[in-house]
Point group: C2
Chain length 152, copies 2
């Protein structure tokens, strides 16, 4: 149904939360999980993933936890989603992975691939910072316009 997984949602929420608390050194997974009523162990795994992908830095031990690896402005929603859900493609059969073997007739793919890029572009233009200040992230409208023009 073309929707994000809960994990991706949780991940975005968590990063947003971290972005909103820049003063603190590090926040534990449990802390964030409690703040949103998210299963703690699940969120923990997600944050570990994001750490492995270089979006977060982690500290073990007491008063340990996670912090953003970069400025919230420099982390895009796309990166988060990509890190958690893996590369996404609108089309079920993508040339990347062998799939459309039997039906080379999938001529829809090419136009839809452009849609895919457009969506990716939009997500890339949205930073965690944009989510934190939950103002409309309209700032990047111009860039996005250019992107649409290019890809569609």
């Amino acid at each position: 149904m073309l929707k994000l997984s809960k994990k991706a949602d949780y991940g975005l929420m968590a990063l947003k939360y971290l972005a909103e608390h820049p003063e603190t050194v590090a926040l534990s997974a449990k802390e964030v999980a409690d703040a949103y009523g998210i299963p703690a162990q699940l969120l923990a795994k997600i944050l570990q993933l994001l750490t492995k992908q270089g979006l977060l830095r982690s500290h073990a031990g007491m008063n340990g936890g996670y912090e953003l690896a970069r400025d919230a402005r420099e982390i895009s929603a796309y990166e988060v989603i990509h890190a958690i859900d893996g590369p996404f493609f609108i089309t079920s059969c993508t040339k990347g992975t062998k799939s459309c073997d039997l039906t080379p007739s999938c001529t829809i793919k090419e136009p839809l691939a452009r849609v895919n890029e457009t969506i990716a572009g939009v997500l890339k233009s949205i930073s965690i910072q944009d989510l934190a200040e939950h103002e409309h992230p309209a700032a990047r409208a111009t860039e996005t316009q250019g992107l649409v023009e290019l890809t569609l």
Copy 2:
């Protein structure tokens, strides 16, 4: 992973196929299925769905089959996807259906809802006709730009 279901893919392929054969009165589900190597019974169900949603017209009996209910230019990819996969939302918890009951803290939703609208807008701007002539559907670039400007 933010991808279309195979059903939606099949549906788009089928409509594209119908759009490419405007001369014929009606094409049977089996005919289309064979053309693409799609499971016939599955495609049949999909086409029935699209019929019920008003995107196709059906005729039973010999030489029966399906035809586009409207001009290929007047049917958007969005409609097809929506008819098959139901309303899609980027966010797992949408205000539409009761979901985010326990966590009213889902402040990500608002910005992402805009992304959602943007995607919907892009899909709405692509018609079956665009898929059929598998040229880049760049014709609508201007409209789409306006849309992005509006919703993002």
